[in-house]
């Protein structure tokens, strides 16, 4: 949000709209730019519709809501509005995956990346930490295409070695390894990096690739990394269908690569288990231990 304020300072076209969410997050922007901040109320369809009307008139509207609400309720407005009109609306979906933990299934964003990836020319980003999110905003804020960005809730979490690197349409290789490749995006990357360290302690050498730019997809970077490994585990806090895992599998299949791709996301219905974000990640084996065990079994166990 600080980055957004800096950009708003620079460009009077930038406006921020919210669907009545962002307590303790948006106040500073609203106070600094009261004429460029609009709370449309609990009305996500209209949030996207109003943003479309503003963008057609030359504004750069950023819309803010919880990932599941921002991506799913107004989905057809995203399609018929910014996507079909090719207008620079930026959708900030906060807290994808299980980041809203105890709030329950309605608040979990397990379909956003897949759903957004279906829309052509929509830029789809899932930065791994706040530094990378800031870099991603700086790299894309004034592009002509619409954008969806899954924004992590934890401003302080850092993926070691990423140091805020982001390139549109590229992936960032944080580590190389012989035995398997870990590919990830979004806030769960912190767990993946920790899992990689655990694997190293157990003598398993794993590469790590952060693919925050799902669309445009880093196809060449993915292909190069896959080509150098026998097996890849794609970890995402998202349904295993449609998101990053699917993207990586598409690249491997289309390029005819020999690397086996295993998707490690949420399988089946996820609304039965309740609890904290950490508990839910554990329950779906998306915490560092679950990821490390899954990876170890793949690298050494043959499955």
């Amino acid at each position: 949000m600080r980055t957004l304020e800096e950009l708003a300072e620079r460009d009077p076209r930038l406006v921020l709209l919210t669907g009545d969410l962002g307590y303790s997050v948006l106040e500073s922007f609203a106070k600094r730019f009261p004429d460029r901040f609009v709370n449309v109320g609990v009305a996500e369809q209209n949030l996207l519709a109003v943003a479309t009307g503003l963008a057609e008139a030359g504004f750069l509207p950023f819309v803010y809501s919880i990932a599941s609400f921002a991506a799913l309720r107004p989905y057809e407005f995203i399609r018929n509005g910014p996507v079909h009109h090719r207008l620079p609306v930026r959708i900030l979906g906060v807290g994808g995956g299980f980041e809203y933990g105890t709030a329950g299934a309605s608040h979990h964003g397990l379909e956003d990346l897949g759903a957004m990836r279906l829309l052509p020319d929509l830029i789809v980003l899932a930065p791994a930490d706040a530094e990378q999110a800031s870099a991603a905003l700086r790299a894309t804020w004034d592009l002509p295409d619409p954008l969806y960005l899954r924004l992590g809730k934890d401003e302080h979490a850092r993926v070691a070695g990423l140091t805020g690197r982001f390139r549109l349409g590229r992936a960032e290789q944080l580590a190389t390894g012989d035995e398997l490749l870990l590919v990830t995006a979004g806030a769960v990357a912190v767990e993946v990096a920790a899992a990689r360290a655990q694997l190293a302690e157990r003598g398993v050498s794993a590469g790590l690739l952060v693919a925050a730019s799902l669309q445009p997809a880093p196809r060449d970077d993915l292909a190069a990394a896959l080509d150098a490994h026998r097996v890849a585990l794609v970890v995402e806090s998202h349904y295993a269908v449609g998101g990053l895992g699917s993207l990586v599998a598409e690249v491997a299949a289309e390029r005819g690569l020999g690397c086996r791709v295993v998707r490690h996301g949420v399988c089946g219905r996820a609304d039965a288990v309740m609890g904290s974000s950490a508990h839910l990640l554990r329950a779906h084996r998306l915490d560092r231990i679950g990821i490390a065990e899954t990876a170890w079994a793949l690298a050494r166990g043959g499955r």
Partner: protein
């Protein structure tokens, strides 16, 4: 702009091009011909279709696109050759409007989306300190859609006086009468209750519509809704209030009879 009414001319083009293209939605186009005629002949300010500070028009009931194409043609923004390719392969003129066409401000076709686009456009005009206005034409049945009411609340809250919604109240929707499918009554009262200034008007009196639309204050006050009483299929007796003409193209003899009726009326 000439004093001759555009509604009848739009109707004639609608019949000619529907016949040539073999497409339907004729009844809806005839229903809105005078509304669109009023806006494009006497109200919409624009130096040209790409004038950045032009008034905006959003045909939220996108299935009446041909009536809009006819108005763009009469305004001089759409060529004869382009119009003659309505519904043709590779033509940008489909049976719902696409923004790639100069003069089409927003693509539409999914009902209930236009008022929100319009509210954003009206808010943009205010933020830019522009005096431009935004007109959105919706069908009455479109008021079934929840998203429309989100935009209605938003526009009233922000007192977007530069936003005008014209409601084509022909009482008919895709599978029957609006009152039988999902009652809208009292439609004008509902819009009033949401904080809009509402005028109930005859949707076929082009001159009076122009006068009303020109007189609406656009610098302050609430947004405006015109509940325009219309007749589905207006101007062709056998199409009036007949559901068939929401869908079907004309046969050659129906076309001749329809044209003859329009000519007799003129």
């Amino acid at each position: 702009m000439s004093g001759e009414e555009w509604g009848p001319r739009i109707r004639r083009i609608v019949l000619e091009e529907s016949m040539r293209a073999g497409l339907g939605h004729i009844g809806s186009c005839l229903s809105v011909a005078d509304l669109i005629g009023a806006v494009y002949r006497g109200v919409l300010r624009a130096e040209g279709p790409r004038d950045a500070d032009r008034d905006r028009f959003i045909l939220s009931k996108g299935h009446a696109a041909l009536a809009l194409y006819a108005a763009l043609f009469l305004r001089g923004w759409l060529g004869c050759e382009q119009l003659a390719r309505y519904g043709a392969d590779d033509s940008p003129l489909g049976s719902h409007p696409h923004h790639a066409v100069a003069g089409i401000d927003f693509s539409t076709g999914s009902l209930g989306q236009g008022p929100g686009f319009g509210a954003g456009a009206a808010l943009a005009a205010r933020m830019l300190r522009s005096s431009r206005r935004v007109f959105v034409l919706v069908s009455d049945a479109e008021c079934n859609a929840g998203a429309l009411w989100e935009a209605v609340m938003f526009a009233a809250h922000h007192r977007l006086a530069n936003l005008v919604v014209l409601i084509d109240a022909n009482g008919q929707q895709a599978l029957g009468a609006t009152e039988e499918i999902l009652s809208l009554a009292p439609l004008a009262e509902r819009w009033r209750a949401f904080g809009w200034h509402v005028c109930e008007v005859d949707g076929h009196d082009e001159a009076a519509l122009i006068e009303t639309l020109r007189a609406l204050p656009s610098d302050s006050g609430p947004p405006h809704a015109l509940v325009a009483q219309t007749v589905f299929g207006k101007g062709v007796s056998f199409m009036e209030r007949s559901l068939r003409w929401h869908y079907e193209p004309m046969t050659p003899s129906e076309y001749r009879n329809a044209l003859a009726e329009l000519e007799a009326a003129a």
